[in-house]
Amino acid sequence: MSTGTTKLDVVVSDVAPVNDLVTRFHFRRRDGELLPTFSGGAHVVVEMRDGDRTRLNPYSLMGSPLNTSEYTISVRRDDVGRGGSLFMHRSVKPGLEMVISYPVNLFSLDLRARKHLMLAGGIGITPFMAQTAQLAGSGGNFELHYTCRTASLGTYADILQQRYDRRVKLYHDDRDERIDLDRLLSTQPLGTHLYVCGPAGMINWVRDRAAALGWPSETVHFEHFAAPQPGAPFDVALAVSGKTIRVGSQQSLLEAIEAAGVDPPYLCRGGVCGQCETNVISADGKFIHNDHWLSEEDHRSGCKIMPCVSRFEGKSLVLER
C-alpha cells in the first residue's frame, strides 16, 4: 500500500515575523472545517511549489493541540540551506493556498512520566510549544530549559515565561549562560522523562551525559530532523521502474526519485522514521549515510539506504525502486 500521508488543503491565514531569523505561518482549512486533532510533538510536511520543483519540508506544529481551528509552524531562515526556508520566508503570503500532510508524531510525550524535563536549543523550541500547552491543559508536571544565542533570538521565550513562569528557564549564549546539565540531570525525581530538540551537537551532548549519569535510554527522547545535506551530483539507476536519474547537488535522492515520477513512501524526510528505506541492488562507491534509522551494521553492509537524507559518491549505484 502507499505509505505517504493523507493531505490537507489549507490556506495561509497569517504570516507573522517573530525575530530576525524566524517567521510564523498560520494555516486554516480551505473548506472552513476544523483541522485534525494532533498531539504535542507532531509535525506536518509542507509542500512548496517553487517554480517547477516541489519542495517538501517537515515543520513541528507549535499551536496548542486543544485548538484545531488553525495550525501554526515557525520557520527559521537558513541562508545557506537548500532553499525551502527561504521560499517560505520570501514567497508564502496570507491567502496562498497550500497542501500540507496530516500530522505525524515522531516525538511523542511518554504519558507514563511523572515529570517531563524538556531541553530546547534555538528553533528546537517549536515542538515544546505544543507539548507544554498539552501538559498544561491536563495538569502535567513539566520544566523547560531553553538555550538561545541572544535574548532577541529567544523565539517565544517571552510567551513561554508569561504562560509558565518559573517552569521555564532561559540561557543566553551571548551572556555565557550554560545549562548545568550534570546537576540538572542528577537532581530529577524518579520517573522523569527527558526530551531534547535542537542542534545535533546539543542532542548528542544531552544523550551522552544522560547515559553517563545512568538514565535508562527509554526515558530519553530526542528529535533531530537532519535536513538533507547538499553534495556532489551523482547518478542512480532505479531497477524496478527502469529509470536512470541524476541527483543534483542541492537535491536529495528522495526528491530526485520523486521528480522522476516514481512515488516512494516517506514520512519524516529527515532520516528518522524509516519509511523510505530502500534496498541497494549494487554499488561501486561510498555511501554518505546521514540517517538515524539504519543500524551501524546496515550502514556497513551497503545493502540499504535512506534516500531522504543520504548521498553517494562513486561509479555506480542501483536501487530497488
Binding site: P36, F38, S39, V104, N105, S108, L109, R112, G274
Partner: protein
C-alpha cells in the same frame, strides 16, 4: 430502514444464527485454496455496499446480543477491561473515533451532538442518551474506553507507542480466541506474539511492527485472521477454557454442520490523534458450517484449506481433535473442480 437486531445467545442454548443476507456478507478469509501466513495488510477504506466494509466500524444484526453477552462477561470478570493510568487520554481518543464512526454509518441508530466539550450521545438500540464533558471522566458512568466499548462490537486493544515498539496498555477483550488481556497487559508486540509458531522465523513480526508503528492518522489499515470455534461462543478465553475447551471433543459426523464455526477476525489499526497511540479493534464474525456451505465455493475452498493446513498451525489453532471429522464432512461437498479467484461467494 435500519438494522433488525436479533434476540440470540452465545452461551447455554446457543440461539445465535446468521440471516441469509448476513451469510452472504460474511468476511470469508481465504482467497485461494491454501493458507499460509502473510502480512496481508491493506488500507482500511470503505468497501462495497452490503459488505462488512460498508462502514469502517461495522454494526450488524448481532449488535444488541453481543453487547448483552459482553455485559455478562464483565459482570463475572471485570479484568477483561483494563487501562493503565497513562492510557486514559487514548480512551477518549477511542470514544471519539467510535462515536463518530457509528453515528456516521448508522444515523438511524446513533447520534452524536457536540457543543464544544459538551457532548450528547444517543444510542437507540441500547436505550442510552447521555450528556457528558469530553475529557472529564467524572461525567461518565465508566472510564471513556469502557463506556464506549460496552457499546461497540468487537474487542479493542489500545497500544502505547514508545521506544520503537507497541505496548498493550489498555483494552476491552471479551470475545477473544484463547488469549487473555489480563495476561498480556503491559507486554510489547514481540512478547504478546511469542506463542505464534512459524511466523517468527519468517521475520513477519519485525515487518509488521515497522508497518504498524508507521500507521498514520487518517489512514487506517486492516487484515483478516481466522480460527475455528465449537458452538457459537464469543468468549473463548483462557479464563473460561474449562467451559469451552471440552467442547472440542464433542464433534461428531452428525453434528459438524451445527457445532463447528469458522471464526473470522477483521482487525483494523488506527492512529489515535491526542495520545499518538494505536487502537486495534478485533471484530469477531462467527458462521456455522451449515450456513457457510450454503455457498458452494466456500465449501470447496474451506475443505482444501483445512485438509492441507500445516500441522503446527492446526495445533496452534486448536483444530487437531476434530480436523479429520471436519475434513471428511467437507470433502463430500468438494467435487474437486477449480474455484473462482477472490474471497466472495459465486
Amino acid at each position: 430502514m435500519g438494522i433488525t437486531f436479533r434476540k440470540e445467545t452465545f452461551r447455554d442454548d446457543y440461539t445465535f444464527r446468521n440471516s441469509p443476507e448476513h451469510i452472504r456478507r460474511f468476511p470469508f478469509p481465504f482467497n485461494e485454496d491454501s493458507y499460509m501466513y502473510a502480512v496481508n495488510i491493506e488500507p482500511h477504506v470503505v468497501g462495497p455496499k452490503g459488505s462488512v466494509l460498508e462502514n469502517l466500524i461495522d454494526v450488524d444484526e448481532h449488535y444488541v446480543a453481543e453487547m448483552q453477552d459482553r455485559a455478562l462477561v464483565l459482570a463475572e470478570d471485570p479484568l477483561r477491561c483494563q487501562s493503565l493510568p497513562h492510557m486514559t487520554l487514548a480512551g477518549w481518543d477511542l470514544l471519539e473515533l467510535l462515536m463518530e464512526q457509528q453515528a456516521l454509518g448508522y444515523p438511524e441508530h446513533f447520534t452524536l451532538t457536540r457543543d464544544g466539550d459538551r457532548w450528547r450521545w444517543i444510542n437507540r438500540p441500547l436505550g442510552i442518551d447521555d450528556t457528558f464533558t469530553f475529557g472529564d471522566t467524572s461525567t461518565l458512568p465508566y472510564g471513556p474506553m469502557e463506556y464506549i466499548t460496552r457499546q461497540s462490537q468487537g474487542d479493542f486493544c489500545i497500544l502505547d507507542q514508545r521506544d520503537g515498539n507497541l505496548w498493550m496498555d489498555a483494552g476491552m477483550v471479551t470475545t477473544q480466541a484463547d488469549w487473555s488481556l489480563d495476561f498480556d497487559i503491559g507486554m510489547n508486540f514481540f512478547e504478546w506474539h511469542a506463542p505464534v509458531p512459524l511466523a517468527h522465523e519468517k521475520g513477519i513480526f519485525i515487518r509488521a511492527l515497522k508497518f504498524l508503528t508507521n500507521i498514520q492518522q487518517g489512514k487506517p489499515a486492516r487484515r483478516l485472521n481466522w480460527t475455528m470455534t465449537i458452538n457459537p461462543r464469543l468468549d473463548t478465553s483462557p479464563e473460561n477454557y474449562h467451559k469451552w475447551g471440552p467442547d472440542r471433543a464433542t464433534v461428531t459426523p452428525e453434528n459438524v454442520g451445527d457445532k463447528v464455526h469458522l471464526r473470522v477476525e477483521l482487525q483494523s489499526f488506527w492512529r489515535l490523534p491526542r495520545s499518538n497511540g494505536i487502537v486495534f479493534p478485533i471484530r469477531c464474525y462467527l458462521i456455522k458450517m451449515d450456513e457457510l456451505v450454503t455457498q458452494p465455493k466456500w465449501a470447496c475452498r474451506l475443505h482444501r484449506v483445512i485438509r492441507d493446513l500445516p500441522e503446527e498451525l492446526a495445533t496452534y489453532k486448536g483444530l487437531t481433535r476434530y480436523r479429520p471429522t471436519l475434513v471428511e464432512w467437507l470433502s463430500k461437498l468438494d467435487d474437486g473442480s477449480p474455484t473462482s479467484p477472490g474471497f466472495g461467494p459465486d
